[in-house]
């Protein structure tokens, strides 16, 4: 009888350990997902801010129709993007259009002194920062999750339940996604 009890005891302990690992993997995977959605939230926030900014600038920048139109077009393209690759490409265009717009703003001191424009300016640059920080947090979480999946002993549980490693959100060219760095 005794060996049977020992075997049952060992099995129970193994089951508890496996359940614990499985649960921690699931919660980590959810954290990765949550970190990814944070990036999305901030990108949407930027889309919401752009019309306000353009609306404020319109009154001052009568001769810059083209620049403003570029920003609006890039934004609507980014909003309509289907998959992630398309979206990343479209967001790049938004960045480019925005940095051109910010360069032009330099020529309009009245606009730069506008209180409403200044507060939108702060919102926009903060949103750019938030996108960068959300990406940073996502990569942190993804690395932690991937480590768990690849390292012993949790890799056994991960293999059993088919956990897949998360992709990192790396930028092909770091400078391209840099926030428009213009002195105000």
């Amino acid at each position: 009888m005794l060996p049977l009890y020992i075997i049952i005891g060992i099995l129970v302990i193994i089951a508890i350990v496996v359940i614990g690992m499985y649960n921690s993997l699931v919660s980590l995977r959810n954290q990765v997902k949550n970190a990814w959605s944070q990036i999305d939230v901030q990108l949407k926030r930027r889309h919401d801010l752009i019309p306000n900014l353009i609306e404020t600038a319109k009154g001052y920048m009568k001769h810059e129709r083209e620049t403003l139109q570029n920003v609006v077009n890039a934004r609507s393209k980014a909003m309509g993007a289907g998959n992630i690759d398309e979206q990343i490409a479209a967001e790049k265009q938004v960045d480019n259009a925005m940095s051109k717009f910010m360069l032009v703003v330099e020529n309009y001191p009245d606009l730069k002194a506008n209180e409403n424009f200044l507060s939108l300016q702060e919102e926009l640059s903060s949103t750019e920062n938030k996108i960068a920080f959300a990406r940073q947090a996502y990569n942190d979480q993804a690395m932690f999750f991937n480590n768990k999946i690849q390292m012993f002993p949790s890799n056994i549980v991960a293999g059993m339940f088919n956990f897949k490693t998360a992709n990192y959100y790396e930028l092909e060219n770091e400078t391209e996604r840099e926030a428009p760095s213009v002195k105000f």
Binding site: E55, N114, N116, E123, S126, Q136, A137, S181, F184
Partner: protein
């Protein structure tokens, strides 16, 4: 990050255990001095009981008490959008589930602290002086430092350590006082009951005098390690060590010239830099924070890349001792590139404008309303100002007061109900549009959700979203 927290916990637990042993020994010895060995156990239980009660109070009400004693005021995003944005940026970088509450302390001396024991009541408080003196990158560094305290569970741990120190100080204080004031007659009585042993008087007395000192040294030692670790985590979050370095420099300069924050030994470690730092080398054991020059020097060495291992290298170079508070698992992590400075330019303000800005911030925190007159005068109205109009004292222009005007309009609205007066109900009854009466002056109206929206004369947009319910409201002029 979690590895770091766990390793942190283990080390802190050891120091806590030493402090607990000290507390138990003190409780036993003091009890023994009063009533023999039974008294020893009673003393032990009482000492532990005091600590438990204090910890519970600190856990459930500590944040409130701390914020109340520093006169901190809770602010919303509108009061200081930049501060709010920076806190949110750091919240995202740290991947915290909840947004911490933000408080402004009406003080000129630049400083900041983090507080809160559970994720729901995390709070970050900054002084008005800090907001006035730092630029965006520097402020971000400071907020990242405070966020790291929250992330590393420093606040929770320091609360427990602080209450333990408090209990030890309290017990020894009571004992030493009664010992010297009770006089010779009562001392004779104690010694009779405890077997007339000279040690039964001497040991408790020595313990009572020494243990608060040891406990304080331990407490401060824990605090100092955590400051370095919070710095290391902060630059890992911001990827911009220069910001925190120059912020610390400004804080240390401001602390020397500015007024001291009113606080005691126990809350000092909670601030980003010690409010009562004297700067002498002798005080290093009794200081809650590492020397600020060393912290700055370490940060300045991190120029190429940031990460825990480069911070450790810089630490050993500056302090010429081995750095032992970063766990091995965190050191394996790869290094990150330092980012560029943010686009905001440095605006060198003269001290007069700075002082005025800080004063305005304090008033705004006290929910004063501001009206900018066209003559350049800024009218500052107290929250209990309830007349619909105000006259500029310089140019005699009459301004309408947005908030008071609103309440007057609401009163009119209530009176008009039933009569169906369309002109008065237009602002609130029409669902998503608001018609401007005139552009070029302040206007205010209430959203459906009851949130008051103010339009500045400079507002040129065609829609606005409510800060409280997020609904989109079209603005027509």
């Amino acid at each position: 990050m979690w590895e770091l927290i766990r390793a942190n916990k283990r080390k802190s637990m050891m120091l806590m255990a030493i402090m607990a042993a000290l507390l138990i020994a003190l409780g036993y010895a003091v009890g023994y001095a009063y009533a023999g060995s039974i008294g020893g156990f009673i003393g032990l239980i009482i000492a532990f009981g005091i600590w438990v009660v204090q910890s519970l109070v600190a856990y459930f009400a500590g944040t409130k008490i701390l914020l109340a004693t520093s006169h901190a005021r809770l602010i919303e995003k509108e009061a200081h959008p930049q501060l709010y944005n920076i806190v949110e940026e750091m919240k995202i970088a740290a991947n915290l589930p909840h947004m911490p509450k933000i408080y402004i302390i009406p003080e000129q001396a630049p400083n900041a602290f983090a507080s809160g024991t559970t994720p729901k009541n995390y709070a970050i408080a900054v002084t008005a002086g800090l907001l006035g003196k730092l630029n965006r990158d520097e402020l971000q560094g400071v907020i990242a430092h405070e966020m790291s305290h929250i992330l590393n569970r420093d606040v929770l741990f320091m609360t427990y350590a602080a209450t333990m120190l408090g209990t030890i100080v309290l017990i020894s204080d009571i004992y030493v006082r009664t010992f010297f004031y009770a006089g010779a007659s009562s001392r004779r009585r104690y010694s009779k009951s405890s077997g007339s042993n000279v040690y039964s008087i001497l040991i408790p007395l020595v313990l009572a005098i020494i243990s608060p000192i040891i406990a304080q040294i331990l407490y401060f030692a824990i605090s100092r390690k955590r400051e370095y670790l919070a710095d290391a985590c902060a630059v890992r979050l911001t990827r911009y060590p220069a910001g925190l370095a120059s912020a610390l420099e400004k804080i240390s300069r401001g602390a020397r010239s500015g007024a001291d924050l009113d606080n005691n030994k126990i809350v000092r470690p909670l601030y980003i830099s010690d409010p009562k730092q004297t700067g002498s080398a002798l005080s290093s054991l009794g200081s809650t924070h590492p020397p600020i020059q060393n912290r700055i020097a370490i940060l300045q060495r991190l120029s190429g890349s940031v990460g825990f291992s480069s911070y450790q290298r810089a630490y050993s170079k500056v302090n010429s001792t081995k750095c032992n508070f970063i766990p091995a698992s965190a050191l394996k992590e790869k290094e990150f590139k330092v980012r560029q400075a943010s686009a905001e330019s440095e605006k060198p303000l003269d001290s007069k404008t700075q002082t005025r800005q800080i004063g305005d911030m304090i008033l705004a925190a006290n929910s004063f309303a501001f009206i900018q007159c066209q003559c350049g005068m800024k009218l500052k109205l107290p929250p209990n100002y309830n007349k619909p109009q105000v006259q500029c004292p310089r140019c005699k222009t009459v301004h309408s007061v947005p908030v008071a005007e609103m309440s007057a309009m609401l009163a009119g609205l209530n009176a008009a109900k039933g009569k169906g007066n369309p002109s008065q109900t237009a602002a609130t009854q029409k669902k998503y549009t608001y018609k401007r009466r005139s552009s070029g002056s302040w206007e205010s109206f209430k959203c459906k959700c009851g949130n008051l929206i103010q339009l500045s004369p400079a507002f040129k947009g065609n829609h606005i979203s409510c800060n409280s319910c997020g609904i989109r409201i079209d603005i027509k002029s």
